[in-house]
Amino acid sequence: MSNLIKFKIDGVECMAEAGTYIIEAAKKNGVYIPTLCNMPNLKPKGSCRICTVKINGRLMTSCTTPVADGMEIESTSAEISELRKSIIELLFVSGNHFCPSCEKSGNCELQALGYLYQMMVPRFPFDFPVKGIDASSPKIIKDQNRCILCKRCIKSIKDAEDRSFFAFRGRGNHLEVVLDAELASTMTDAQAEEAMRNCPVGSIIVKEKGFAIPIGKRKFDHNPIGSNVKV
């Protein structure tokens, strides 16, 4: 514990071990910084940008930036909140996110962030892209309409030989996360459940399991996302 350093988040004194990523260090100090792509035990990617904070006048992703001694981090300023809200709005308009008919509604991290930042309507025009749904594998449905390309499933759901069940296919606007058909036939129930749990949206749905939890008892029905982090 000798390499404990001091830093500040929004003026509040925090302590963490040197080298800890800001998002993790903040969590240990009871400060919630939102993320859609980061997960404990996975190498951070800094891809969703929701965890953006301001350090020394510069915008940095807190999942890829380690804390440094004396660092002053800005995370809840109006500027940062507005930036995060605009990213959420962009995600909502760039996919087909029909919350009322989605199995993940109430347990969806993207939706929960919409609630947290009080998104009443996205400021951008809706794109309504044409996307497909792959229901060919025995355990899960992969709905591209809802995918936000966070890569959590690619990085976290692997078989005994460390092969990913999911992979990127295509480039640019056509980029999508697809399921390896051959590997998918070997997917266990536990792996399917974990894939659905790790997906921040409703893009991975375990078959015959939709709407299992009634409205009012779902994860984000009463408690805002991140409220379990607060001290």
Binding site: N96, C99, I215
Partner: protein, 182 residues
Amino acid sequence: MSKPILATTSLAGCFGCHMSILDIDERILTLIELVEFNKSPVDDIKTFTKPVDIGIIEGGCCNSENVEVLRSFRKNCKILISLGECAIMGGLPALRNGIPIEECLHEAYIGGPTVQLNTDHILPNDDELPMLLDRVYPCHEIVKIDYFLPGCPPRADLIWDALVALITGDPLKLPYEVVKFD
């Protein structure tokens, strides 16, 4: 001062948002003390008879009639509110966005598994019928909308609080549990 005047309509919606207005329960007695209704399914007034203060829109725009009604609301109302997911983002009717109109009509009237009586394979084409739009549009992509109340349907408490705040000029509190997208 005379009472503020309220108008409501359901475009490409399911009337669920109007049901949620009724879901304010006994507060509806207070509501009729606070406002006067004009064009609305609530009192069945079909056309605007005077300038309206607050117009509430349920549902998005899926056909030419929806667009016409929405534009008449914009013209006759000082303030317009998009009520519910369909008005805000198209909602379930917008699931057809991305599917060509011809395919939609074919599925509904000719090829669909429950189509049995249309043996002459007729697609509705009467001049009296409103034309379907190429896709379903959120209301704010057709006219300017002043406020948005999300939900499917928006919680009765959200509708009530928003209306009271608008009428009294008090700030609107938004408790976590009233703003939901489903």
